[in-house]
């Protein structure tokens, strides 16, 4: 079987690294080669620069910058060889690391302009130290003993305590933020809400893509249906509040999931992906052009905020703060929104985990593995696919309704293909079918993009460089790196849904590694 070979991990790279030892002359030659290449490649890109002057282009030369770049490559290559390449003695590793840090610090004093000379050297040293630390971490990780069983048990042993700790953290997060970061509380709670929205969307899509194995590139359509359902219901019928519209939005989105499910029942893989992609776009284009119904590109504003058992989060008489005798603060509403999305996300997770243990959930996973075998076992693949689409879409719709109430405004712009791509990337990077992986991936991706907005301090050191504009590149590189090191996502383990009671001690987690005996 072709797939059998995919399951067993190949020999770890650490083993091949141990062959041979570090030789200075070889490493220096290697580094020189890399530096020469960098010099050739950078000759035009770094060494020369054209500026627009009064009467055309003026060529200026930046040989110092080119020299620095070559030097960084030379030292960096040496460091890489010492840390990640052949087995090098500790003294050599420390020596190369020292040279590298000193080199970076030296270049900083030359190149950078902001701050005093020692400050620049210090920043350079810290930067160099950081790079060395990261490389050292990678080296340690790659030289770890062969994973297999020991690691699996360790992971299993920590899985439950970590899970409990994360749940506690999620439950207390708003209060931690208001206590420790009072200055930026709104910003951070907003970010937490955003991350949780994507966690929920990721969990919803995980049912379709991760469990049932149906590649859906148009998941944002259901998110849009949910958001517009709530926006239209609440603005057309003022008596409908968030809590009564929420289930309706979920149902409507679920219904559209079934509507999409029917025509694509026969499709799989690439073909299914294309059709769902088209469906996502159709919904968006309809929302954009059906002006009478959706108000077109202007969107729908004035979507009501959620209430707490009828109490609005407003200043003065009858508001939430007034009722409970608190001092009014706008942050209350954000904390409330946070708990709503947390509850919705938990609901999604709970339902998914329960369904996985029921026949329908097992049928989803079997469908992902082998559709023909499913049919041969009497499983109705039509219903199985439709339920996966419907339930996944329903959770997307619930998240959409939440999105509408949080923003107070919906427009087709919020539901572009980019959203579908991000949600799918969360599911894939997290590890298909893994609930915990979705949490990690959503935090890293959504939180990471936001955090990269705050790296403008780099610009103070390198004038003329606006790092914020590079955040999508950094982000893309990070995704490529993850896919290289963890090709099956952050969490590639799969817990079996059926374990016999008396054999529980065997540990579901050994099993998922294919190592349980």
């Amino acid at each position: 079987m072709a797939t059998a070979s995919n399951i067993r991990p190949g020999p770890t790279r650490a083993a091949s690294l141990e062959q041979g030892a570090f030789v200075w002359s070889v490493a220096l030659a290697d580094a020189a080669k890399a530096a020469a290449l960098a010099g050739i490649l950078g000759f035009f890109f770094i060494g020369m620069k054209t500026d627009i002057a009064g009467d055309g282009l003026v060529l200026s030369y930046r040989w110092a910058a080119l020299g620095h770049a070559v030097l960084i490559v030379f030292l960096g290559r040496l460091l890489l060889d010492a840390l990640l390449g052949k087995a090098a003695p500790v003294t050599t590793q420390m020596l190369t690391a020292g040279i590298f840090i000193a080199g970076i610090a030296g270049i900083m004093t030359q190149d950078a302009t902001g701050g005093s000379l020692p400050a620049r050297a210090l920043v350079g040293a810290v930067l160099g130290g950081l790079i060395v630390a990261v490389l050292y971490g990678v080296a340690l990780w790659r030289r770890r003993p062969a994973p297999a069983r020991a690691e699996a048990t360790r992971q299993a042993r920590f899985a439950i305590p970590i899970g409990i700790a994360l749940v506690l953290l999620a439950l207390t997060l708003p209060f931690l933020i208001t206590t420790f970061l009072p200055g930026q509380q709104r910003q951070f709670i907003d970010l937490a809400i955003l991350i949780l929205t994507y966690v929920m969307l990721g969990w919803g899509l995980n049912i379709v893509v991760g469990l049932a194995g149906l590649l859906d590139l148009g998941y944002v359509a259901f998110y849009a249906v949910g958001a517009y359902s709530f926006a239209l219901l609440s603005t057309c019928f003022p008596f409908i509040g968030f809590w009564s519209a929420l289930p309706l939005a979920g149902m409507l989105a679920g219904m559209w999931g079934l509507v999409l499910g029917f025509p694509v029942l026969r499709l799989r893989g690439d073909y299914l992906a294309i059709v769902t992609l088209a469906f996502g776009e159709i919904i968006r284009v309809v929302l954009l052009n059906w002006v009478d119904f959706t108000n077109g590109p202007n969107g729908i504003s004035g979507v009501p905020k959620p209430t707490f058992f009828g109490l609005e989060f407003s200043r003065g008489e009858g508001g939430f703060a007034d009722f409970f005798g608190l001092e009014f603060s706008t942050i209350h509403r954000f904390i409330y929104l946070y708990y709503i999305i947390l509850a919705l996300a938990f609901l999604t997770n709970f339902v998914t985990l329960r369904l996985r243990k029921l026949p329908i959930g097992r049928a989803w996973e079997a469908l992902r593995e082998d559709e023909i075998a499913c049919r041969a076992l009497g499983i109705n693949t039509t219903n199985t696919k439709l339920t996966a689409f419907g339930i996944g879409a329903m959770f997307g719709g619930l998240a959409g309704a939440f999105f509408a109430t949080r923003q107070g405004f919906v427009s087709p712009e919020s539901f572009t293909f980019m959203e579908s791509a991000i949600i799918l990337a969360i599911v894939v990077l997290g590890g298909l079918g893994s609930q915990m992986g979705v949490v990690i991936a959503a935090t890293v991706m959504i939180g990471g993009i936001e955090m990269l907005r705050h790296i403008s301090f780099v610009g103070q050191i390198f004038p003329g460089v606006d790092p914020v504009q590079y955040r999508m590149i950094i982000f893309g590189l990070a995704m490529v790196a993850i896919m290289i090191w963890k090709p099956r996502g952050f969490i590639s383990r799969r817990n079996p849904s059926a374990v016999l009671k008396e054999r529980k001690s065997i540990g579901a987690d050994l099993v998922s590694q294919g190592e349980g005996h």
Partner: protein, 245 residues
């Protein structure tokens, strides 16, 4: 005696290709019937046509007095037919236990524990491998799992498509022994499609030979074993000296 399954003048194929040209075949309750033939003769197509995928273009498939020719596959599989498909088609990333549970999708959950114990009796190897993923099993173990998974559906008729494919002779013998045992002890009806003609014919009560989508010969397993044409076509090559054993 009426047949448990009868295939009457069935023609079937994929797209423009017709793989079966009017096949007639009967399987009576309690029998082991084997269908032998070369690669591409249409054996697997016949088995899949019985299950309804692809559906027969003409002719009828009657099971237990009901016409199942145009019935969706999953309904047929709920009426007491189970299949161990060609290439085993184990759920690779799911454990042995989960595979068996999926096999029991069509029966009431109350039978599960007893049936599971029965499967572990038949194939003790599967008990050892219970929490291992299907894809990490050896070929023989996967075949045992495929048969056990089919049996978990409590079938009256078991369809086996090339259970000996790619397996060591010792394991083939073990699997055929289990089939014989199931047939004798529990009266399970078995329809076996095989290329390994020697073992299949020895095991079967009756046998059919298929060539290019047509049944060319039929008889008891022993008859066909002794038939010169069959020997020449399917049994030559190292088998002759053991044929008498």
């Amino acid at each position: 005696m009426s047949a448990l399954l009868s295939v009457e003048g069935v023609a079937a194929g994929y797209g423009k290709i017709t793989a079966l040209h009017g096949v007639d075949l009967q399987i009576h309750a309690g029998e082991i019937v084997t269908l032998i033939g070369a690669n591409g003769a249409g054996k697997s197509t016949l088995m899949m046509t019985i299950c309804g995928s692809p559906q027969a273009r003409s002719g009828r498939v009657v099971y237990d007095g009901r016409d199942i020719t145009r019935q969706p596959t999953h309904l047929t599989m709920r009426q007491g037919i189970a299949q161990s498909p060609e290439g085993r088609r184990i759920f690779q990333r799911m454990t042995v236990l989960e595979n068996l549970r999926l096999g029991a999708s069509v029966v009431s959950p109350e039978y599960f524990d007893a049936d599971l114990a029965r499967m572990y009796d038949l194939f003790p190897r599967l008990k050892e491998r219970e929490s291992q993923r299907g894809g990490t099993l050896s070929g023989g173990e996967q075949q045992m799992l495929a048969i056990a998974r089919a049996l978990m559906g409590r079938p009256k008729l078991l369809l086996l498509d090339e259970p000996s494919l790619g397996l060591a002779p010792l394991i083939v013998r073990h699997i055929f022994e289990v089939i014989r045992e199931l047939n004798q002890r529990e009266g399970l009806t078995v329809f076996l499609v095989e290329q390994n003609a020697f073992h299949a014919l020895k095991l079967a009560h009756r046998a059919y030979v298929m060539v290019n989508g047509r049944i060319t010969m039929s008889g008891t397993g022993q008859d066909l074993l002794n038939n010169d044409d069959v020997r020449a076509a399917y049994l030559e090559g190292g088998r002759r000296e053991t044929a008498g054993a």
